[in-house]
């Protein structure tokens, strides 16, 4: 590689300005080794982190979300200049302070809502609903990548490699999309397939290395993220490879019109064909996990690899298949990003932090396909809304990242959520009540 240093891969600033490093994802990665996952897995007396997360109740998930929003609200209030001013004479006129807090938080979250669901300031419904379409557009690659992460979770693999898989997929899809000359439709299909294959190769490599050498998938995926990032940077800087002709920028040429995803609801909205693909992917993953024989083996290995081995399931092959599919799903996210959302060309920030956010989304969706879909839409909304929050209220976009991080933190620690909401005590009282009849019967 030449002496130039591309952007630090940990940061992931994106071409379209939506880049967010995800501290939540990093925290998840740090916790991952505790989940075990070598080919020979130690006995599981204690539930693993993965099984704890996937089994956490819907209540805990919803309450975690509430706590995340509360934390965000506190930050909004604390950083608001009006709140700071009124806090100075809090004891003289506390009402001023509370009014300012209310205004800041309500204003912030109001803008978030208007930026992500429905803008009441627009004259008609069709333009008012535009934010919701933006939400779905943001959600599209996020859901795809999160399905990949979630699928791997269900097989007991902590796939931190969404970023690398997306980058390779974006490069492959972008190469087909920007350099080839093919008729409309076929071009697009070929570009998507290239993306799927690119992601599958990058994910499958992890499965292969884990199956053959016993290397831990967390280490493999993290390292392959770096390799993918610098490989892409190299491709983008080397004339004749992926770099746009007649350009010295580290960027590919724009996607050909024949390869770009069509806008499915007309040019008024950004929502593109990738969203349909993602819905299909969600249905596919649901079928795979809940109805197919392969998915049965996936889940069996995820829950108890030892028993699966004794039952004649080739655990190593399952790891390879699972990572191939997980990579392909993340690849769909990468392809959708480059063919639908940012069609001006591939850059090394094309993943826009989605590969890491996907971990968060998969956790929030408890690794269930439709849970991931819902969580992806929610995160899409947070992302879409954060821009209008910044524009309308001057609230930093980072607040949304904090909300996301707090949500995941809480989901990973259900006892914490339960104790915050005093959920343990009612359970005990209920148990005591159920015992009463026995006692009186004596």
């Amino acid at each position: 590689m030449s002496g130039s240093t591309p952007t630090d891969p940990g940061r992931g600033d994106a071409a379209d300005g939506t880049g967010t490093a995800a501290p939540a994802a990093e925290a998840a990665a740090a916790a991952a080794p505790a989940s075990g996952g070598r080919p020979v897995v130690p006995p599981r007396a204690e539930p693993t982190l993965l099984s704890r997360i996937s089994q956490s109740s819907v209540t805990v998930t919803v309450l975690a979300l509430v706590l995340g929003l509360v934390a965000g609200g506190i930050l909004i209030a604390v950083t608001n200049s009006q709140v700071q001013a009124t806090a100075g004479y809090f004891f003289a006129r506390p009402t001023d302070f509370f009014a300012a807090v209310w205004q800041a938080v309500a204003g912030g979250y109001g803008a978030l809502f208007q930026g992500s669901v429905y803008n009441i300031n627009r004259p008609d419904f069709l333009s008012g609903i535009r934010p919701l379409m933006d939400t779905l557009t943001f959600a599209t690659p996020l859901i795809a990548a999160a399905l990949g992460v979630g699928l791997a979770f269900r097989v007991g693999l902590f796939n931190i490699g969404g970023r690398g898989q997306m980058l390779i997929a974006a490069a492959a899809a972008g190469w087909v999309g920007s350099t080839m000359n093919l008729p409309w439709g076929l071009h697009m299909i070929l570009a998507v397939v290239a993306g799927l294959i690119g992601g599958a190769v990058w994910g499958g490599l992890v499965g292969f290395l884990k199956a053959r050498t016993g290397a831990h998938e967390v280490i493999l995926t993290i390292m392959l993220n770096y390799i993918a990032f610098y490989l892409l940077a190299f491709l983008l800087r080397t004339p004749g490879l992926l770099q746009a002709p007649d350009s010295s920028n580290p960027k590919s040429g724009p996607m050909a019109d024949t390869a770009v995803f069509p806008k499915i609801l007309g040019d008024r909205y950004n929502l593109h064909f990738g969203f349909i693909l993602v819905i299909l992917a969600t249905i596919f993953v649901w079928w795979l996990l809940n109805r197919s024989a392969l998915g049965f083996r996936f889940r069996a290995v995820g829950e108890n690899p030892e028993a699966s081995r004794v039952a004649g399931i080739n655990v190593n092959n399952v790891y390879i298949y699972a990572m191939l599919l997980a990579g392909a799903l993340a690849g769909l996210g990468g392809a959708s990003q480059v063919l639908g959302s940012v069609t001006s060309g591939v850059t090394s920030g094309i993943d826009a932090g989605i590969g890491f956010d996907a971990i968060t989304v998969a956790l929030l969706g408890r690794s269930r396909p439709w849970g991931i879909f819902a969580a992806g839409v929610l995160f899409g909304a947070l992302k879409a809304g954060s821009f209008s929050m910044q524009a309308a209220q001057g609230i930093p976009i980072d607040i949304v990242t904090v909300v996301q991080a707090v949500v995941v933190l809480m989901i990973a620690a259900p006892p914490l959520v339960r104790s915050i909401f005093f959920l343990n005590r009612p359970a005990r009282r209920a148990a005591a009540a159920s015992r009463l009849p026995e006692v009186s019967a004596k």
């Binding site: 109805r291 108890n304 699966s308 081995r309 004794v310 004649g312 159920s434």
Partner: protein, 504 residues
């Protein structure tokens, strides 16, 4: 010191593990706590040892009510425990283990190992143990490790000593020695609580017997009671302790194992040049103390041990080098030793567990899709046939009792077309009622002409089932003897000796 438990009640949610249990253990006596697995014996002892806090009731030592917040309090009050699974640090020496938790230190926290060594020697001499204080625990045989546990408890001046299922890991001879140690402790005035479900041992050493069933004391028994009386009291109904079985009618040789050797990760030969034959319609029991290569031997048969040498053939077909999948397809049914770890997926439903080793092809999979209709009908049928007690076939297997979990594994393995059935410790940790059921099914499998291998460390089980017995010691087969061989002979063979007149 006299220990008294008064009205101890411990609940876990809706489950009442101990229901107003009263118990009185006198100094200088052995009090047996007899009950099936899951009857609440261990819970009661964990309450006594301060690991659990009782919801109701009190622990009284010499008339003084105790309040234990943790094991430390219990130990200081003079209660010692020899756990079923030893609580020793394998890489520490005996002296280090004995001092662990109450280390004596000198200047600037320097450990006073000399004092610990002296203590080990003193106690060893008192009981005639031959234990080197500087031996590393992991190098010691299991029976000796147990003595280290006993020394550890005594070094803290335990006046009440609880033995939790101490004989599970011992050879018959080691068990005899343990009994002698218990008698000696009793003579010194120690109050002993002896938890077990083995009737023979109870009748040998107990002064008093308390039978616990479903968390309640169901009565006292005299050491003179017969096995059948004790078992009936323990289970709550009359139980057949011996399996009714006709003499075997062995057919042609089916499984032929020649010079099988298995090497473990450390390069040790855990199965060393083993050869034997099992005929159609016969049960071969593999007896031996835990950890003498039986586990690895059975695993090698179904392809779970990749580092196996030698030849294995079944009905003339070569099994050597097959994958687990291929071995299962050859018609081997396998009940693994540790069912929760290797036999079941705890989070899966009963129905899903029943198809665990048949997730490719008919009858449960068609065109890549699981046929849940077929599976559920199959599961309902097997639930009835094998008397699996559960709310429904959608109950998670992990929530079932040990006996019902084992029935799920059996139902899965026995409902295929078998040419060989291998069961490792098929009745470990399950209730007497289920043991009866499991044994009957195994005999029925034999009578259907299938060769059966049963691995067991329990001589009662070996005696009940076996047509022939192979005894394993340190990876080798000491000898193969008829099913009627006496316990004493088997016991000697389990220790590696080959009594006269026994040929391999």
């Amino acid at each position: 010191m006299t220990l008294e438990l008064r009205g101890i009640t411990k609940r876990f949610g809706a489950l009442v593990a101990n229901d107003h249990i009263d118990l009185r253990v006198e100094a200088g006596s052995i009090h047996c706590l007899l009950g099936e697995n899951g009857a609440g014996k261990s819970t009661l002892m964990n309450v006594l040892y301060g690991l659990y806090q009782a919801d109701e009731g009190e622990i009284v030592l010499d008339g003084v009510v105790q309040d234990f917040a943790g094991p430390g309090d219990a130990r200081r009050a003079g209660i010692g425990m020899v756990h079923q699974h030893f609580m020793l640090v394998p890489v520490f020496t005996v002296a280090e283990n004995v001092m662990l938790g109450h280390e004596q230190t000198g200047f600037a926290g320097r450990l006073d190992l000399a004092a610990a060594r002296a203590k080990v020697r003193e106690i060893s001499e008192r009981f005639g143990f031959d234990i080197d204080p500087d031996a590393v625990v992991e190098d010691l045989p299991v029976g000796v490790q147990q003595r280290v546990e006993i020394i550890k408890a005594l070094s803290q001046r335990a006046k009440v000593l609880v033995f939790d299922e101490p004989t599970a890991v011992l050879t018959p001879q080691e068990t005899d020695e343990l009994m002698a140690i218990m008698e000696q402790l009793k003579a010194e005035g120690t109050a002993i609580v002896f938890i077990t479900h083995k009737l023979r041992e109870v009748r040998r050493v107990a002064d008093t017997i308390t039978v616990i069933r479903l968390g309640k004391v169901v009565g006292q028994a005299e050491p003179t009671a017969t096995n059948a009386e004790l078992a009936t009291q323990m289970v709550g109904r009359a139980v057949e302790l011996t399996v009714q079985k006709a003499p075997a009618t062995p057919g042609a040789p089916a499984l032929v194992v020649e010079n099988l050797t298995v090497v473990d990760d450390n390069g040790l030969k855990v199965v060393n040049d083993v050869s034997f034959t099992v005929h159609e319609g016969e049960i071969l029991a593999i007896a031996g103390v835990q950890g003498n290569g039986q586990t690895e031997l059975t695993e090698a048969l179904i392809g779970l041990q990749s580092a196996a040498e030698g030849r294995v053939s079944l009905g003339g077909r070569e099994l050597t080098g097959l994958t687990v999948r291929q071995a299962l397809d050859e018609g081997i049914g396998f009940v693994p030793e540790d069912r929760t770890h290797d036999g079941l997926v705890g989070e899966f439903t009963i129905a899903e567990n029943l198809m665990l080793d048949r997730s490719t092809g008919a009858p449960f999979v068609r065109a890549g899709s699981v046929q849940y209709g077929v599976l559920n009908a199959f599961a309902e049928e097997k639930k009835a046939e094998f008397d699996i007690r559960a709310a429904s076939i959608q109950t998670a297997a992990g929530r079932l009792s040990g006996g019902n979990q084992q029935k799920v594994v059996l139902a899965r393995e026995l409902s295929r077309d078998l040419k060989l059935f291998v069961a490792a410790q098929p009745t470990r940790g399950i209730d007497v009622g289920s043991i009866e059921f499991v044994h009957k099914r195994m005999v029925a499998t034999r009578d259907a002409g299938v060769p059966v291998i049963v691995v067991s460390t329990e001589l009662d089980e070996v005696a009940a089932l076996a047509d022939r017995i192979a005894v394993m010691y340190r990876g080798e087969i000491v000898g193969i003897v008829p099913g009627t061989t006496s316990r004493d002979t088997l016991g000697l063979m389990m220790a590696g000796e080959r009594p006269e007149g026994i040929v391999e």
